[in-house]
Symmetry: C2
Subunit: 455 residues, 2 copies
């Protein structure tokens, strides 16, 4: 451990400089205008893997953005760790809410502010640097394979094909991912589950063209009003989701499991204060930790229709749209939920509008075991570097690929995330604490050590 | 009449060319980026008034865009007509729905397609050309004053100040406006009323920043969902507006008045077919002609929140917004209605969001008399040029300035509009039929003739 700490200390400025270089490339996978930058980012990652000592480094072509692969096989008889991460980032909008430019990393109060700082450039790059450290210091006790993709933020559609076609190449004993959060440096935690995702776009069409709201208003259904009414009906008065059949497959937790979930540190007043809200909201009968961890949700991610520019325009719009996503819990199935939603949404559309529901990407919920060798190795590594046993928690986010790995490769995942919930993922002013970044680089080699020892 | 027809026939190509030149200048008053074009348009109008023979032509400065004034006083003892129009236009968005560019007028099937073709460049320019005709042919039998403003589409805020400060200069016996529609060339009509307007913008704020919908979704109120619920509650199950007190001042029409309204030609199937809708919508207990003519309405003109770009972003937005306007009927008062709305909307905001209601411009409803000399002159002019008596109708739109003229100058207005409801005002592919444009230029001189004779 001393040797690890010393290496991180001596190299921390370079570790930060390299991450900053990575963060400066705007690898927004959702927007085609960033195409060249996304590819440039893949090349950067490949280069760094190579210089850290990885073999067979390759940009694997897909129908979309390339997957960066690299490996170090030290001994076929040793256990193998498959590291997954993603080099693409969320769009930076709304730009005007960033205090400093999203692609010009800036340090304030020991935090790195930049799009992708935590999600997931800062987190996957810890693995590249930890690998460098183990190589340099002769500490690598397992085989390691890296698979860093560029389409996580748009649904990882091409990764599935890649995994299916490369089962042997990707064979491993555990998947290790740092793309989630822990409670805090003082309360380290390990996520033991992730929610699934069903994401749809809906379009409500009224008249065949935008109309003058004076001439036609009051006599022709306004699709913005109708969409509002339809969205309003998706949660009942207890904030239960009103899509028939939505909860049918939801795994209900036992009282003792729910009790354990609620033992994680949580201060309601601090939570509200951090978010600037007077009251929390949510499904009746559940706590905040349950609502974000073990219960499914339905959220409007975007809504638009009519005139949204400066000033006033008296238009009765032809169309109104929304992006709606649902987080799923075990044993819900994303395809089933998408179809239930589609059927329901179409069924509640009144005669004076037409409705189109277009599914975006989906993903399945997962629960990771806490009694596996890999989980125990991760817990031990964290206990050693943080000085405190990690608390098992359920994550609210989704990494659809985790379910895919389980299905295609038959491998379970360890979610060893070093981010914080307050890192503003997907929001303006995304950040990652330098302390967490460096702590992660220190902890990862310990995982390899214990995973090798316990296997 | 023959002399008028002949002049219009001989000059029709030039009349069109000049209008096209006017339509090519993108005078969008709502968007500051068009500022130079708006001013260029004012200069164009002044130039054309001058060359048609108007005296004292002037760009009258205001706090916003200039008002173009010009006059021809032939004899102080003759009646005076004050012509009002506006040279500014609505924003052209959404641009992608235009078949041909909004500021490149294009003729198809005898119709001029361009932003402002009907509203109001095509319509006010008829008056400039009719004036030219009367001057050339020695037919001008009244004094005439032109007041063409550049801020009608943004609420005419500075026109009020101008009118107040120029009462003597603007003194007249009637205000003549072509900024409304008739039923058709076969069924000419004259509008005898206009609705008022109350326009507000609402902002619903939840958390103090955009959040990751996986980490916070289900536990924090989503302002897009809350806004949808609030908008959904603004109409009850009979599509009555659910703002307390909203209908308190509404003038209810007698059965015979309602009967007259419903005698105007209206074909429900044609109406639905034209708009591409299966069913109409509206306040229970009223016909379509009543809903657009004599009943107040509440419409969402724009709604936005969260991520509205390409692809999927899993954000729980910090804010959601909407532009909402209400059309008012006699004797509603726009300021009162705006306050009732604000109070109600704030009162229905749940504790987990904050709400801001910002009023835009408003305007008062008007009813124009049908027993006045001016109305009779207009009816006679239309009967002569169209060969059919005009049907009196109630217009659904708003020209707030009409109520202002009545209040400040004590003058009633004649709404001699030559547009059609199908002209796509405020929509993509706005158009104006060449036949209506030329028919208007023919009819206006007859109005002057009969107004002079009957006065």
């Amino acid at each position: 451990m001393q040797e690890i700490k010393k290496y991180v200390e001596e190299n921390q400025q370079r570790f930060l400089d390299e991450l900053f270089e990575l963060l400066r490339i705007p690898s927004v996978s959702a927007d085609p205008k960033y195409k060249d930058d996304v590819i440039k980012t893949a090349e950067f990652v490949a280069e760094k893997l190579k210089s850290a000592g990885a073999d067979k480094v390759e940009l694997c072509e897909t129908a979309g953005y390339p997957i960066v692969y690299g490996e170090k096989i030290i001994d076929q008889s040793k256990p193998t760790v498959l590291v997954y991460g993603h080099y693409d980032v969320q769009p930076p909008d709304p730009l005007e809410l960033w205090d400093t430019p999203p692609f010009e990393p800036t340090v304030r109060d020991g935090k790195i502010f930049a799009r992708g700082a935590c999600d997931d450039k800062g987190q996957f790059y810890m693995h590249v640097k930890a690998f460098e450290l183990m190589q340099e210091k002769g500490l690598l006790g397992c085989n390691v394979k890296f698979m860093i993709e560029g389409e996580e933020e748009v649904g990882s559609e091409n990764l599935g094909v890649f995994v299916e076609n490369n089962k042997e190449r990707l064979s491993a004993d555990v998947v290790l991912i740092s793309d989630t959060a822990m409670i805090s440096l003082e309360n380290p935690s390990l996520e033991t589950g992730l929610r699934g995702l069903s994401y749809v776009e809906v379009e409500v069409t009224g008249p065949n063209r935008d109309l003058h709201s004076g001439v036609y208003g009051g006599a022709v259904a306004n699709p913005a009003t109708i969409l509002a009414k339809m969205i309003a009906s998706l949660h009942d008065e207890n904030n239960h989701i009103a899509v028939p059949g939505f909860y049918d497959d939801v795994a209900e937790l036992s009282d003792s499991e729910r009790k354990q979930i609620n033992e994680a540190p949580f201060e309601l007043e601090t939570y509200k204060e951090d978010l600037g809200i007077k009251e929390i909201w949510g499904e009746k009968g559940y706590t905040t930790l349950e609502r974000t961890g073990i219960r499914p949700t339905l959220e409007v991610n975007g809504i638009w229709g009519g005139y949204i520019g400066e000033g006033a325009k008296t238009v009765l719009p032809s169309k109104a749209n929304a992006k709606i996503s649902m987080r799923l819990v075990p044993n819900q199935d994303s395809e089933t939920i998408t179809q239930l939603f589609k059927k329901h949404f179409e069924s509640i559309a009144p005669d004076y509008v037409t409705v189109k529901v277009s599914p975006h990407h989906g993903g399945e919920p997962v629960v990771t075991p806490t009694d596996s060798v890999a989980y125990k190795a991760a817990a031990k590594a964290i206990a050693e570097s943080f000085g405190k046993e990690p608390i098992p928690t359920r994550g609210g986010g989704s990494i659809p690929i985790v379910a895919l790995f389980e299905k295609e490769l038959g491998i379970k995942t360890v979610l060893m995330g070093f981010g914080l919930d307050s890192d503003n993922l997907h929001s303006p002013n995304e950040k990652y604490d330098i302390a967490n970044y460096l702590k992660g680089i220190e902890t990862i080699p310990l995982f390899y050590k214990y995973f090798n020892e316990l296997s």
